[in-house]
């Protein structure tokens, strides 16, 4: 057994505050799970799971309100593209498999659940190997308009599929994703947050990984004013493999928060959580909280979680909190690492001293920072889009710096 500990000592920001105004979770497993809106009060920002979130800027998104569809004008447009081998349907609350895997764990998820009358149901036929991705395109039609969503993806046993959830436009959007990965299935779910600046997006993505199944969950958060995603995994049997990947790039004014929870509740499963983010601009803010629970029965499991943040400019802030709870000694390996570093001017100098201009040098360094996680993503269209987006973000920095120069000269 190997047990790797943080590369540097992590000080819990909550402990630094010193107050006892907040009772931390006894265990991550002890958190409230319920379909009743009344079980989740509106957060104040002092709760353990909301302490990093700017709850005062969440607007309407936590209210127990229906989707703000108007005559001939929906709050969010949906376009579902399902290739052969996928059955598209809907599920009412309580209609299985809806609700069998995802039980809301916070206010955002519970209002989404309560206010989605018909959940989108995507069932991938067992043993089907899809040659085309399943696409769900969500296009917000107006900032501040409530939009509730719940999707259920059911990957039949031994099927192979890629599901891409793509968010654009703006809305106050709560979106639940419930994923059932059948035994021996290979499922990749990609969630792209390409929102406009005014969008608010809360999400709970809950997956159950079947026996010997492989689940890959990829989050790419580039747009949106506030994005807060909970990506969770549990296992339905031994031999399951879960990979949770996240890439984010926060600009001034953006709050991008990613939380993951891997509940190792079965023996001989593996999990790998890797999130990497860059930040630029005053008030750019990112949060990563990675919880892993290894239960007594989870013998022989192996898990590793890692978060790295690259702060490109002054005024940006990244929080990174790994939590590892271990209830059995009989594991193959468990570890975590977390670090946040500033853009290294020495790297810039080194590259520029070889003739490379500043913009290209920055691009090389930032692309390099993301290189390993991009290699793990392995979905060409997502990788291409991501690289293009990173380049565009960096051009933004270059432009704003050019604009600033005359003022400082």
């Amino acid at each position: 057994m190997s047990l790797l500990i943080d590369e540097k000592t992590h000080v819990d920001p909550a402990a630094q505050l010193g107050g006892d105004h907040r009772i931390p979770d006894q265990s991550r497993a002890a958190r409230t799970r319920s379909f009743e809106v009344a079980d989740f009060a509106l957060p104040t920002g002092r709760e353990e799971e909301w302490r990093f979130t700017p709850v005062d800027r969440l607007g309407n998104v936590l209210s127990d309100a229906p989707t703000d569809d108007r005559e001939g004008d929906v709050a969010a447009g949906y376009d579902v593209q399902a290739p052969e081998g996928v059955t598209v349907g809907t599920l009412a609350p309580g209609q299985a498999p809806r609700g069998t895997v995802l039980v809301p764990e916070d206010r955002g998820a519970v209002v989404a659940s309560a206010n989605t009358e018909q959940a989108l149901h995507l069932a991938i036929t067992k043993e089907a190997e899809l040659t085309q991705p399943v696409r769900v395109l969500v296009d917000g039609r107006g900032a501040g308009r409530r939009s509730n969503a719940h999707y259920v993806v059911e990957a039949g046993a031994f099927s192979k599929a890629l599901v891409i959830l793509d968010h654009t436009g703006a809305a106050d959007h709560t979106g639940n994703l419930e994923v059932i990965v059948g035994d021996g299935a290979e499922l990749t779910v990609v969630s792209l947050q390409r929102w406009d600046d005014e969008a608010v997006h809360l999400a709970q993505h809950e997956a159950q990984v079947g026996r010997d199944a492989t689940y890959k969950h990829i989050v790419v958060s580039l747009g949106g004013g506030i994005v807060r995603m909970n990506s969770n995994v549990r296992y339905a049997g031994p031999g399951g493999d879960a990979t949770l990947l996240g890439v984010y790039f926060a600009d001034a004014g953006q709050h991008l928060e990613h939380r993951s929870f891997v509940d190792h509740n079965a023996p001989r499963c593996t999990s790998l959580v890797t999130y990497k983010g860059a930040l630029q601009g005053d008030t750019a803010r990112t949060v990563w909280v990675g919880d892993v629970l290894i239960r007594k029965e989870a013998e022989g499991i192996e898990t590793y979680e890692l978060n790295r943040n690259l702060v490109l400019t002054d005024g940006a802030r990244a929080d990174s909190v790994p939590n590892l709870e271990i209830e059995t000694g009989d594991i193959a390996g468990a570890g975590h690492a977390s670090s946040t570093g500033r853009f290294d001017d020495e790297q810039l100098f080194y590259l520029m001293s070889r003739g490379i201009d500043e913009a290209d040098a920055r691009r090389l360094v930032v692309r390099g920072f993301f290189a390993d996680i991009i290699a793990k993503i392995g979905v060409p269209e997502v990788v291409d889009r991501l690289m293009a987006a990173i380049d565009a973000e960096l051009e933004l920095t270059a432009l704003s710096e050019q604009h600033e120069e005359p003022a400082s000269a």
Binding site: D344, D345, E346, Q347, F349, Y350, L351, M352, S353, R354, G355, I356, D357, E358, D360, A361, L364, V365, R367, G368, F369, F370, A371, D372
Partner: protein, 252 residues
């Protein structure tokens, strides 16, 4: 024929309290094909000279001139200096995670030449230069300086020297931390480039050891931020025997 002229160069570095003067009027002229060894005790300002010429932002030029074929180097950006034909082989090359050596070399070559190198000849050139420096082919796919040994870092610097073909190279303690075998390989690399391209070299070193492999035309003793004495290679031999004591006493 290229000439690098350093005239009365004065450089200071920002410290916590105030600017500290490090170079106090350096005069030096290096022409194509010439090798100038800059020798001196620790803290004499040798590395500052190298970094100031390359344009490191930590150093502020407070006086004097640096001209490359009459062009004012001090007005150029760091990248423009390299494009103009200057090269600095660093004592502590910087790690760039996630950027492969091969990508880095191609990007640098494109930047220096103003156009992408022809793929076929470039691959051959890189392979040949790596073989000459006894670098394994797998090196090209490693990330720049990441996990490199001291010797690998220095070979990688000389690899760049071979491929980027600058007019004037400043080698900042390229010999430090090298065993004799690595020192020979690196020195042969420098000599090869000199022979092939007529490179002018400013060879900064603390020890005379490397001068057995790279023959200097001029030796300058650097003390307290300026050139205290200049001579031929015989000066290096004298330093080998006497050390820097003579100059240090004089400087006090």
């Amino acid at each position: 024929m290229t000439t690098l002229e350093i005239k009365n160069l004065q450089v200071s570095v920002e410290t916590d309290d105030a600017a500290k003067e490090i170079l106090r009027g350096v005069d030096l002229t290096i022409r194509s094909g010439e090798t100038h060894a800059i020798m001196g005790p620790n803290g004499s300002g040798k590395s500052t000279l190298a970094y100031a010429i390359a344009g490191h932002p930590k150093y502020t030029v407070t006086g004097g001139e640096v001209l490359l074929d009459g062009e004012n180097v001090l007005e150029m950006g760091v990248d423009e200096r390299a494009q103009a034909g200057l090269f600095l082989a660093m004592q502590y090359p910087v790690e760039v995670p996630g950027v492969t050596v091969s990508n880095f070399l191609r990007t640098a070559k494109t930047a220096i030449d103003g156009e992408a190198p022809k793929l076929r000849t470039w691959v051959k050139d890189v392979k040949g230069a790596m073989e000459a420096l006894k670098m394994d082919a797998s090196f090209a796919e490693r990330n720049v300086n990441e996990g490199f040994s001291g010797g690998e870092k220095k070979r990688h610097e000389i690899l760049q020297l071979e491929l980027l073909q600058p007019k004037i190279a400043i080698l900042d303690e390229t010999d430090s931390g090298l065993d004799v075998d690595a020192l020979k390989i690196v020195s042969e690399g420098v000599n090869r480039v000199k022979e092939n391209t007529g490179l002018g070299v400013m060879l900064i070193t603390h020890y005379t050891r490397i001068l057995r492999y790279i023959q200097p035309d001029f030796v300058h003793v650097f003390v307290n931020g300026r050139v205290a004495e200049s001579g031929g290679s015989d000066l290096a031999e004298r330093l080998e025997e006497e050390g820097y004591d003579r100059f240090l006493t004089a400087a006090v």
